[in-house]
């Protein structure tokens, strides 16, 4: 394999990984991801609170999203950061953890309208908070 091809393989491999230093750009991107999960969770919770979804869909989809938020929480808790943004990165990690827990509750109570109604606004607020951290 020549050097160009090797470099291409390395770039491809690295482009998909979650490692490396968190700089401002990565912070913005990850806050968008956390915000996206929270916002989608809020949409799902709203549907569950109206009885407009199905048990299995909520159980499976909420779990997927909860797991993705948890992965972000873990990555952001330990990754090195650029100077001056460490506090925001760790804050985003905690926020991702909160989103993950809320989505986990939705996963565990997929037909409970009360639980879903109680999660709708907090998840929306989490999405706004993530948006602020990315600015």
């Amino acid at each position: 394999m020549n050097r160009g091809a090797l470099a291409l393989v390395l770039v491809l491999a690295l482009s998909g990984c979650n490692g490396g230093t968190v700089d401002e750009h990565a912070l913005k991107r990850d806050s968008e991801k956390v915000g996206s999960l929270a916002s989608e969770g809020s949409l799902l919770a709203n549907d569950v609170s109206k009885g407009a979804s199905t048990k299995y869909f909520v159980r499976v989809h909420a779990k997927e999203m909860s797991q993705a938020a948890s992965d972000l929480q873990n990555a952001l808790a330990i990754r090195p950061t650029s100077p001056g943004i460490k506090r925001d990165v760790r804050k985003l990690s905690k926020l991702a953890g909160k989103v993950s827990e809320e989505l986990e509750r939705l996963h565990l109570h997929p037909t409970d309208r009360g639980v879903a109604a109680s999660l709708k606004e907090p998840l929306k607020a989490d999405a706004d908070a993530a948006d602020q951290l990315g600015k």
């Binding site: 915000g35 989608e40 199905t54 299995y56 499976v60 989809h61």
Partner: protein, 407 residues
């Protein structure tokens, strides 16, 4: 009878056009750029119509499918490169599609993902083994019609129709031109995925099309893929009207179904999941057959689903092996949605090796007699070859520069 046949073909094409690549790229494009990229879908759909009609005509007149033409026109060595790249992309796509089917089954049943992979694998093997060719296409095509619920959802989300109309005019209103270009390439790659023409032309040979079927071929390609494009518009409008405003990046198949649940509730969700199940399931079978068709045609083996499995044993073994390989790959836990993005981008690289031989054979009088391309066919064919070359050259650099659409 003729009208009935045309209607069946069109219905199957509508339901069979959208696969996991179209789902992922159209909804994600809408969620990222609103309706700005609708014009790209039009270009992609016209491209697949032009080349499907061409390879269907070649199949009807000469009885040759795409990889017969590849072997004859590109020679053994270059043809082998085309075959290997086609098979790698096919296997990636098949893996992603089977993963997509398993996720859909999981979202419908709540059962374990890995069990659903096995269920999907066994179901495919049984369906392919026992069901006649034309019914395989039709069952999945008709089931895929449930995808029309996305059109209803698009209307119910009350998009700005002025902005939607503006989306059909090429323009770029973004601070991320590279990302815009990446999505444009992805949408074109998803619309013109090579397996569609492998399957279409081999299907023409399977159904023993002759010159009398050229009208049927033209109508199927134009109306079927045209209406399939309508489904792509709907997906992008759902992405733009719901997810862009809410800041949602649809990363899961479940997110795409949620786009219907929000405006239409439980019934909408179930129709969307069933539609995705059949559309992606149909695409799995198309991809599975395409892999077996390509290898058999290139090596000159007996092939075809109209034969008994024992009448084309190497063809049968090939699709069985491909199915087992794809099931094994899905079982590793690879994310089907992410794999889809890679499959679409790499298939874009392989496009010229598929479309150039079709264009050459469609102009060869010794094969096509009086049925060679007309002037319009040649102009469109050449324009699309240029488009395809641009896609092939820019797909991987854009994927790297945008971090697979993440930046």
């Amino acid at each position: 009878m003729k009208i009935f046949q045309v209607a069946l073909g069109i219905l199957a094409a509508i339901g069979g056009f959208v696969d996991i690549g179209d789902l992922v790229f159209n909804v994600a494009a809408g969620a990222t750029f609103g309706y700005q990229l609708l014009w790209v879908v039009v270009i992609g759909v016209v491209g697949i119509i032009v080349y499907s009609e061409m390879c269907g005509r070649v199949a009807a007149v000469s009885g040759k499918a795409v990889f017969d033409a590849v072997r004859e026109r590109l020679g053994f060595k270059v043809g082998l490169v085309a075959l290997i790249s086609a098979q790698v992309v096919n296997l990636m796509t098949l893996t992603a599609e089977i993963g997509g089917v398993a996720i859909c089954l999981q979202l419908l049943s709540g059962l374990s993902y890995r069990w659903m992979i096995l269920v999907a694998g066994v179901a495919f093997a049984i369906v392919v083994w026992v069901t006649p060719f034309e019914w395989v296409e039709r069952i999945f095509g008709y089931g895929g019609l449930c995808m029309l619920v996305f059109a209803v959802a698009a209307v119910k989300l009350h998009p700005s129709w002025g902005a939607v109309a503006h989306g059909f005019v090429p323009h770029m209103d973004t601070q991320s031109p590279l990302l815009y270009a990446y999505f444009a390439i992805g949408l074109l790659g998803a619309a013109m995925t090579p397996y569609e023409v492998y399957f279409y032309s081999s299907g023409g040979v399977e159904e023993r099309w002759g010159p009398k079927d050229l009208g049927l071929n033209r109508v199927n390609a134009q109306i079927g893929y045209g209406l399939g494009g309508f489904l792509s518009f709907s997906l992008m409008i759902v992405g733009g009207a719901l997810f862009l405003e809410k800041g949602v990046q649809p990363e899961f198949l479940g997110s795409i179904a949620l786009g219907v649940e929000v405006p239409l509730g439980q019934i909408g969700l179930l129709l969307a999941l069933v539609g995705i199940l059949f559309a992606v399931g149909g695409a799995s079978i198309d991809t599975l057959f395409s892999g077996a068709y390509n290898l058999a045609q290139f090596l000159g083996w007996e092939w075809g689903r109209y034969r008994h499995p024992r009448g084309a044993p190497r063809f049968t073994v090939t699709w069985l092996v491909l199915l087992v390989l794809a099931l094994g790959a899905v079982m590793t836990g690879v994310d089907p949605v992410q794999l889809t993005e890679y499959a679409v981008i790499f298939s874009a690289v392989a496009l010229p090796l598929t479309y150039i031989p079709i264009f050459l054979v469609a102009n060869d009088r010794s094969y096509m007699r009086e049925y060679t391309n007309g002037r319009l066919g040649n102009v469109l064919g050449l324009v699309y070859l240029v488009v395809i070359m641009v896609i092939a050259l820019t797909a991987v650099p854009l994927m790297i520069l945008t971090n697979v659409g993440q930046n």
